[in-house]
Amino acid sequence: MAEPVFEPIRGAYVHLSLGERPHRVYFEEAGLGIPLVCLHTAGADGRQFRHLLNDGAVTRHFRVLAFDMPWHGKSLPPAGWQDEEYRLTTQAYVDLILAFCAALRLERPVVLGCSIGGKIVLELARAHPERFRALIGLESAAYQPPWYDDTGWLHRPDVHGGEVAGALMSGLIAPQSPDETRWETLWGYMQGGPGVFKGDLHFYRVDGDFRDRVGQIDTTRCPLYLLTGEYDFSCTPEDTRLTAEKIPGARFTVMTEIGHFPMAENPAQFRRYLLPVLDEIRAAAR
């Protein structure tokens, strides 16, 4: 009989108090070294980082951690969820990231976030630069004009939320991305709980307009890298460029043949852009 094949990823649950309510948050980790906390996109979960967690070139030098936000993946909603509408806010998202890093005693981690995760790193850079070694925003902008007006499509009884989320997100993946990772990315969207994707977009579209504040970011206190895929029409390269122009020292790169989900839709193409950034962060740490 063939030997079982195990990946080097370990999963665990950590208890966090968020908004004075107890939460049980699932995360996965692999590797040793500089902590690298990864933030998934809206309506998805930490599985988007499975390729990064399995990438020896990264885990040789970085302790990669990816949590499922409450309401997402294996992190349950808090008790009492059945009587409320989930809505992510800037403050709640920052508190979650800080609470996770504190609970795991992470010392000046790097945070890499995509989409809503990319947007929140802008707020981490503005408000908490001293807590982080470097920040990496994928598909990140202070503001991005919406591409459909009504997020209500994502949560109504006559349209299947998972099916429509997958069908909408399919367009944000580059045509060059391999079928296997394309469809795995969409599967994540098809699995979201009712109203959760919509609730995340409250932060992405309403509460997270940072145009008035990204100019306060001081990249001499914490380096900021912004990488955006050329096929992303939710957060376009132009949206990110406008943001980068307001932040002296921000490093902006357009990734070719990539859409809105770099680490998930085309891991091989994404690491060509990420590894040099991680090398630079590591060199600065020495």
């Binding site: 004009p145 349209v159 429509v164 909408l168 399919s170 367009g171 096929y231 029409f233």
Partner: protein, 129 residues
């Protein structure tokens, strides 16, 4: 691709769709007529339980349809390229770019969105071979 071939792409939908059993299965709950505008030409695509039973070329004087997908001939031509450029790779990308419009009763469209997107993109898969 000329205007004639853009029109031919729309007219080829019955063959492209009905020959794909999985696509027909995914559309099995959709029975509707939708309008596709290619520049100045209009086409009515009649879907019955996932099968494209007819594509009728306009002009029309007074016809009913459930939803409409409108774009220039140039936009559709770029949309159907084997590897489309950014902005032309998806119906909603073209809408964001301002070269396509989506109108009408959107509930059947959104309830069957993967199916409808796959139907209109079918000529691309044919172009890819």
């Amino acid at each position: 691709m000329s205007a004639a071939s853009a029109h031919a792409s729309i007219l080829s939908l019955p063959d492209l769709v009905n020959g794909d059993a999985d696509l027909v299965r995914r559309g099995r709950y959709l029975t509707a007529t939708f309008l596709v505008e290619v520049g100045e030409r209009e086409f009515l695509v009649r879907v019955v339980e996932g099968r494209v039973v007819a594509v009728e070329a306009g002009p029309f004087l007074m016809r009913s349809w459930t939803f409409a997908l409108r774009a220039s001939e140039e936009a559709w031509r770029r949309f159907w390229e084997p590897t489309p450029a950014p902005g032309y790779h998806d119906l909603f990308a073209m809408k964001k770019l301002g070269v396509a419009r989506i109108e009408g009763d959107l509930i059947p469209l959104m309830a069957n969105l993967r199916y409808v997107k796959d139907v209109v993109a079918a000529p691309r898969w044919k172009a890819r071979g």
